[in-house]
Symmetry: C2
Subunit: 223 residues, 2 copies
C-alpha cells in the first residue's frame, strides 16, 4: 500500500513513519508544505530504520505531490491547519483514497489540558469528514498514541488505538495497518460520530503525565 | 473509615460495596431512598462476602441516616437524580465529609453512546461540586469502572481509576481507598475542571464493547 503521512515531519507523523517503515512493507511518502524539509526527514527516517537493520521505502515530497496515488493519506497536522491542508491535497483524493485523521483540538489553562470541541462540529474527525469530497472515506485513528514513545524505536508500546469510520471497509483497512505496528491493537469504536470521546482522551493523558510521577508518554489500553 | 454508598443497591455501588467489604476494614453503609431495600442489599452483600471467607461490616439505611457520620459519601446515582440526592443528605455533610462522584451523563443514538455535557456545567463532577455546601470537598473517582465486573467478585480487574479533586488531601484519601481494591490503580488527573475527559471514557467503553467481539465489561488502563 502507498501511505502518505502529511505532516510526517513531526509529532505523531514521525513515529508512524519510523514504525511503519521498520515494521511493514508499505511504501511511505512524507508530506510537508516544504518539499526540501519532507525529503530531509524522509532521509533521516531511512537512516534511523537502517541502523536497526530495517530497510524502508520512505520518500519525501510537497503535500500535493505526496498525496498523489496514495491509498492512505494520514493528516498528522495541528487541528487549526487541518481544513487548509486538506484543500492542498483534494485533487489527489478519490473514493479509492482513505483519509485518516489523528488530530485532536485542546486548550490549556492553569489546571491542565482540556478537550475543545470545534466550533461547528462534534470533533476534529468530523471536521475532516466535512472537508473532504463526499465520496472520500474518512477514518479516525491514532488519536491517543504517545508521539515521543512512538518515535523512539526502542520503546515498547502495548497500547490501543480506537478506530471510527462510517465506511466499514475503510475502517478495517486502517485497523489492519495499525495492527501491523508491534504492540498496537486496533479496537473499533463505531461510526465517526463516536470520535469526540476518543479525542478527549488525549488531553487526559497529558494531565495524567503532569500529575503522576512515573507516568509519562502515556497511551491507553482497554481491557 | 465510615464509607456510605448512596445508590449502593445497584450499578457501580454494588461492586464497590462488595469489593470494599471483602478487601478493606472500612465500615460500609448502603444508602437508598427505601431503607428496607438498603438493608436487604446490605444483608445480601454480607452473605456474598461471607461465602468467600470475608467478614464485612455492611449496614443499610435511608439516605439521610446513611450519610450521618460518614467520612466518605459516594454518590452512585444516575446523573438526573444527583442534585436531588445531594439535597437529601446535605445536613449530614460537613468539611469533614468527602463527597465522591462517579456519575456520568450519556445519551444514546443509533451510532452508540455519547458523552453529554450537563446544561450549565462542564461535567457531572462539577454539578456535584456546585450542589454541595461550599466547605464540603468533592472528589471525582470511579467513573470508568466496569460495574458488572466489579460486582463479580471472582473477576480480575487490572484497571485504573482517574481521580480529580481541587482539595488535594481529599483526593489523596479517595485515591488511597481506591487502591485498597485489588487490581485497581488510582491515577491523579488534577483538578475538578479536568473531569469531563474522564467521564467521556465511559460511553467509549460501551461503544468498544458493542463493536468488538471479545471485549466486554471494559475498564481502562493508562500505560
Amino acid at each position: 500500500m502507498r501511505i502518505t503521512l502529511i505532516g510526517g515531519t513531526g509529532d505523531i507523523g514521525e513515529g508512524l513513519a519510523l514504525r511503519l517503515g521498520r515494521e511493514t512493507d508499505h511504501e511511505l511518502v512524507i508530506g510537508s508544505r516544504d518539499p526540501e524539509k519532507a525529503r530531509r526527514h524522509a532521509e533521516d527516517y531511512r537512516e534511523r530504520i537502517d541502523k536497526r537493520g530495517g530497510k524502508a521505502a520512505v520518500e519525501g515530497a510537497a503535500n500535493p505531490a505526496a498525496a498523489e496515488g496514495a491509498d492512505l493519506v494520514v493528516l498528522s497536522v495541528p487541528p487549526e491547519f487541518l481544513v487548509d491542508t486538506i484543500g492542498t491535497v483534494t485533487e489527489a483524493l478519490s473514493e479509492e483514497t482513505i483519509v485518516v485523521t489523528p488530530a485532536v483540538q485542546m486548550r490549556r489553562d492553569e489546571d491542565g489540558f482540556h478537550y475543545e470541541k470545534p466550533d461547528a462540529s462534534d470533533s476534529v474527525t468530523a471536521v475532516a469528514a466535512e472537508a473532504v469530497p463526499d465520496d472520500v472515506p474518512v477514518v479516525g485513528a491514532f488519536h491517543n498514541l504517545p508521539a515521543k514513545r512512538l518515535a523512539s524505536l526502542d520503546a515498547e508500546l502495548g497500547i490501543d488505538t480506537a478506530i471510527v469510520a462510517d465506511d466499514e471497509t475503510a475502517g478495517e483497512t486502517v485497523a489492519a495497518v495499525a495492527e501491523e505496528l508491534e504492540g498496537v491493537r486496533a479496537v473499533r469504536a463505531g461510526g465517526l460520530s463516536n470520535a469526540a470521546e476518543i479525542e478527549s482522551i488525549t488531553p487526559l493523558l497529558i494531565n495524567l503525565a503532569t500529575n503522576n510521577s512515573g507516568l509519562h508518554n502515556l497511551g491507553v489500553r482497554f481491557s
